[in-house]
């Protein structure tokens, strides 16, 4: 009887090279990673050939969406906490300790101060909807002597908050952080110039004249 000998193949695949490649890829992604901030209102910034990078810390982002609504964000929670205290007295708005905690966990602020208590009581979905449709008021408050707008008050409060925090540091720590908040203007490509002009004019009023315009990189055509 001719026995057909079926050769038993070894189905074991060596995964070691695969794992090597994976480790390499993973290392690459981990080293080049900068995490996407979970911003509610996102803008598409225009392109430029500038090579300078946006600073990674101590920034005050001013987002201006295509409809001209203004939102603020900062990466320093301490600063935000101090600024919130100032704003609560300035605008005479009361937030409970719990609401304040809730406030600090928000990534962007774009609601008039007097509406914040109501806003923080809403569900996440409703908040997103509100944030996309509101924005910080930029018209000057007529009842105030200095006619500052809420937006100007916020910028000032945040700047001062950072300064306070910075002054409390000891000399060794001071060397490793920026000495003031850097204003980064993040506006959408389609934002009309009139909205940008208004924001810049308001910043000039409170003696802020240096900004960074956030852009994407584009090669120069020649």
């Amino acid at each position: 009887m001719g026995k057909i000998k079926i050769k038993k193949n070894d189905v074991w695949i060596d995964m070691t090279p695969m794992s090597d490649v994976m480790v390499l890829l993973l290392t690459f992604f981990m080293l080049s990673a900068n995490f996407v901030k979970n911003e509610v209102v996102k803008v598409v910034t225009p392109a430029s050939q500038t090579m300078a990078k946006v600073p990674t810390s101590a920034t005050l982002d001013i987002t201006i969406d295509p409809e001209g609504r203004v939102l603020l964000a900062t990466d320093k929670t301490v600063t935000l906490e101090k600024a919130l205290k100032t704003m609560m007295t300035e605008r005479d708005a009361q937030l409970s300790a719990e609401q304040q905690k809730e406030f600090l966990s928000e990534t962007q602020l774009g609601i008039p101060m007097k509406n914040y208590a109501e806003y923080l009581g809403k569900s996440h979905e409703e908040r997103v909807k509100l944030l996309k449709a509101t924005g910080i008021p930029t018209d000057s408050i007529q009842t105030r002597d200095d006619k500052m707008s809420e937006f100007q008050l916020w910028v000032k409060a945040l700047k001062n908050g950072y300064k306070e925090w910075y002054n409390d540091l000891d000399d060794v720590e001071k060397g490793s952080v920026a000495n003031k908040l850097e204003i980064c203007i993040k506006a959408d490509q389609k934002t009309p110039y009139s909205s940008v002009k208004k924001v810049i004019a308001e910043l000039q009023d409170i003696n802020e004249s240096r900004y960074k315009l956030v852009t994407q990189y584009k090669k120069v055509e020649d």
């Binding site: 995964m15 981990m30 080049s32 110039y193 004249s209 315009l213």
Partner: protein
């Protein structure tokens, strides 16, 4: 016989199964790919003049010379420039010209079209400076970074003679450096100053693009200015030719 059996038992399989490890890696990579962005945004510096109510309209008019180009950004991504050869022609709408974006449009205007101060000279000097800087060995580059930036500033002011043959002329550079500190700068080519006037219906993209163009064309003096009544009249007169009548005394 018994001894042989014992030795057979000791032989162990040292193969480790890497499949779970690969699975985990895949998950991690997916996570990093989705949650991070590779491209870091770029920052463009912008310094606006502080608000100064004392500045009279006379001082503002001083900028109206043949070395000034006014760029108007209007709605629908349109761009106009206003350039005069003689100071006396200021206010005449026939010197307004419509152009396009990019290298054949506004960049060409700034680079070649101006009679007294085309920026081509400066751009060529910058290219030479770039060549010099890029040819440096990488360990020297960091040390020379401040020199590069200072030299670029000099070129923007019109000192184009600090570079020649793709080399930085160290002796000339030092001389200019001293001159700039003592405020007696001499021997430079005329440079252009640009007034950027974005109309309210232009977009932010237009503004950034034109600011970018200032960098590309090596223009050191530029300002973003508000559009005044006069500017609107000028644009109006340009759009409806024939309606312009030179005002008496102008």
């Amino acid at each position: 016989m018994a001894k042989k059996k014992e030795s057979k038992q000791k032989k162990m399989n040292v193969r480790v199964d890497f499949t779970p490890m690969v699975d985990m890696m895949m998950l991690l990579i997916t996570f990093f790919m989705l949650c991070t962005s590779l491209a870091k945004p770029q920052a463009m510096h912008l310094t606006m003049p502080a608000k100064d109510e004392n500045m009279s309209s006379e001082d503002k008019d001083k900028s109206k010379t043949e070395l000034t180009v006014t760029i108007y950004l209007a709605g629908g991504d349109s761009i106009m420039y206003y350039m005069v050869d003689k100071k006396e022609d200021f206010g005449n709408p026939k010197f307004m010209e419509l152009t396009t974006w990019g290298k054949d449009g506004i960049r060409d205007v700034l680079k070649n079209k101006h009679k007294h101060a085309p920026t081509k000279v400066l751009m060529d000097a910058k290219t030479q400076l770039d060549n010099w800087f890029n040819a440096l060995p990488s360990n020297q580059r960091e040390a020379q970074d401040s020199v590069y930036n200072r030299a670029l500033l000099m070129i923007k002011k019109g000192h184009v003679d600090i570079v020649a043959n793709n080399e930085l002329q160290k002796a000339r550079y030092d001389a200019v450096d001293k001159e700039m500190k003592d405020f007696n700068e001499t021997n430079m080519v005329p440079t252009l100053s640009v007034n950027i006037k974005p109309l309210d219906n232009s977009s932010y993209d237009n503004l950034v693009t034109i600011l970018d163009e200032m960098q590309i064309c090596c223009i050191g003096k530029y300002v973003i200015d508000n559009v005044t009544e006069k500017d609107l009249m000028l644009i109006d007169a340009w759009k409806n030719p024939g309606s312009y009548q030179p005002a008496a005394g102008e």
